[in-house]
Symmetry: C2
Subunit: 407 residues, 2 copies
């Protein structure tokens, strides 16, 4: 007998028929003798509707009210799934974040889970009652409802699994696992049977949408075995997130991610002197803009240089505004921006042991005539910024170059 947490996303509970299907999947685990806690998202479309209403009333809405409104989506699904379970003979009850409680920080709209009181829930699980928990939410120190940010139900599930000391956390979604890359771009993409937490974290933060980055971070921190599998084909496939040591064969590259959510900013002829970086990135930080990749050209005359960096596409206007306001302090000659860029990344823990992995990437892209605009690396990934038009070509070429294509 195991204790498992099952999580179902918005498309898995999109309508009454699908909620009934989810109930069957839960019943199957109960029939196998497992203790089961279920975390649910809002029915597909509901969260968007609630967000749209709030924004229509005021773009500058209070984050606490936003959270109180938006959190109802998951509360509805939790109640409905509990009803669906009872209807097929499974003892179940719904739990809202404040009832457990799931305590979070006071940072509304993107709160972090601080603590989950699991004792009472564990007691109920031991009695054979299925706990259906509203995902994406908790209760902040001032007794108001907080949400964890979009995709936060993944994090709810992993945090709950950690708190309950569950044997496994199964994330049911609309794809049947984690792939070597986006199958919509590369038809020969392969599903991975296992992936290391570190790799998944890079994949998620570099553009793969299958799991929220924060949830992977938490799974890694608490060593929660997480499985990603399909609600609509639960018996097939699945990918297990696990410890690096549990993966015997470490390929140099495990997966390829990309994101179009990028914009590039270049400052021409900024003074090549100490303090100039601070004069640029300080104002951006104050404006709440996250800077990603940075490259500084070698100064030709030792006095002036060009500086390029990337920001999220949605933050471009805010970033340009902040820089223009700080122009006197920075002292640049010209400011150029480009929304037509994308970031392509190769990820793999095997990179540590295999030299020359980055070189294969650069060579492959060069052969296809793709210009690399910015490069950034870490121990287990290499990211390059390229013109957006070349994304598909680049991903397909790299997928072949690293022997990831399915037979």
């Amino acid at each position: 007998m195991s204790k498992i947490v099952m999580k179902f996303g918005g498309t898995s509970v999109a309508d009454i028929a699908r909620i009934r299907n989810v109930a069957k999947l839960v019943k199957r685990e109960v029939d196998r003798g497992h203790q089961v806690a279920v975390v649910v998202s809002a029915m597909a479309g509901e969260t968007n509707k609630l967000v749209a209403w709030t924004r229509e009333l005021s773009p500058l809405h209070d984050a606490r009210e936003y959270d109180a409104v938006v959190a109802t989506g998951e509360q509805v699904t939790a109640g409905l799934l509990a009803v669906a379970l009872s209807a097929i003979g499974v003892t179940a009850r719904s739990w809202q974040g404040w009832q457990i409680p799931i305590r979070t920080s006071a940072r509304y709209c993107s709160a972090r889970i601080v603590e989950i009181e699991a004792a009472f829930l564990n007691e109920r699980l031991a009695q054979g009652q299925v706990a259906v928990v509203a995902g994406f939410q908790g209760i902040a120190p001032d007794n108001r409802i907080s949400t964890l940010g979009r995709g936060g139900s993944d994090t709810s599930a992993v945090a709950l699994a950690a708190a309950l000391k569950a044997d496994r956390c199964d994330i049911y979604t609309d794809v049947d696992g984690v792939y070597t890359t986006d199958p919509r771009i590369v038809s020969r993409a392969r599903r991975l049977h296992k992936i290391a937490y570190e790799e998944m974290m890079e994949l998620a933060s570099l553009g793969a949408k299958v799991l929220q980055t924060r949830s992977v971070e938490m799974a890694m921190a608490h060593r929660v075995p997480v499985r990603v599998l399909s609600t609509f084909d639960a018996d097939n496939g699945g990918t297990l997130l696990c410890d690096e040591d549990d993966i015997v064969e470490k390929n140099p590259v495990t997966g390829i991610a990309y994101t179009r959510d990028e914009a590039k900013i270049t400052l021409l002829k900024v003074p090549d002197q100490p303090g100039v970086a601070a004069s640029i990135f300080g104002p951006l930080e104050d404006a709440g803009v996250n800077v990603d990749m940075i490259v500084q050209n070698i100064s030709e005359d030792g006095r002036r240089t060009d500086l390029t960096f990337t920001v999220g596409r949605a933050e471009l206007d805010r970033a340009l505004d902040a820089i223009r306001k700080a122009a006197p302090q920075i002292g640049y000659k010209d400011l150029i921006s480009d929304k037509g860029v994308a970031k392509v990344s190769i990820i793999g823990i095997g990179m540590r042991a295999h030299p020359g992995v980055a070189q294969t990437m650069f060579k492959t892209l060069a052969e296809k005539g793709i210009n690399i605009q910015v490069i950034s690396t870490s121990e287990i990934k290499v990211s390059v910024l390229i013109a957006e038009d070349y994304v598909e070509l680049a991903v397909r070429a790299l997928h072949s170059a690293y022997d990831l294509d399915a037979a």
Copy 2:
């Protein structure tokens, strides 16, 4: 400076534009220097949608899950109205039932408010913050969300007004007050400027849909001055619910109510002996059927008699079933039922002082050729059961007979 509770029903908050309109009405009271608490219903249609989902999953759903699902409708409106108020410069925050808390009984789906902790809310009101409270709900002793039954937001508002010791409770709805009868049937129906609590309670329980019966009961018990007025024409009209003593001119009849939600059951030739009533109404009570009007004919031979009573139309099948099962104990000869009946009632506190009021009713109906099937009376009302086809005719005739027609 007064402290007031404003309540807005589902049609008043049906969409974003209407929520903005409600925010303006609230701001007006704030600008007048009042302390304001607002109670809101779910956006029109939302509750029905949530109820339909729950029923689709299981007709025998757990009442606690039903409540958790259905209560989200009001939670959404409360958050949205708080956002709308902030957007026009009014300090506001939303409150869910469990946050205040509004403590209720454990009778889910039709819980009764036991206690509202008003101290903290009063503190906020005194600071000038508008409290936007989700209506229709509270928290039961086991820490789960409970609802008060359909129309329960009226009761939330009156209970809140009582707890806050508010000077007034304004119920904003889609009609501009309480009328002498249904204006859709009688074009010359008049709006009442004042109505006594007792009269309103009879009107509400006998078919007038303008206020939930329980809310009137509570207003009377706590002597809360309640005004009914229109969201869409807030400056015009309105009806004040008040103490009998505050009404100077007491007409014999204040209003005429009707309901088609009736069914009649007749048991032919039951034994005319002690205990027979118990043998009939015991099984009905066990089946959860509410019996309304009862009439027992005079026995012709002293041994057998006919017994007629009414039940809610929705409960007819359940009632017949219970009686058939108890047939051996009752010993009737035949069982007849009729769904084609309606109840018409005249209500007025002046009845106590004016003899002959009922006689006018009987005479008026007789003149129109309308047969009275059952009669029931109380100190301030007379109800008759008639064939449903005659409802409009009966109401119009009575409206004229009691001099209620507008000039």
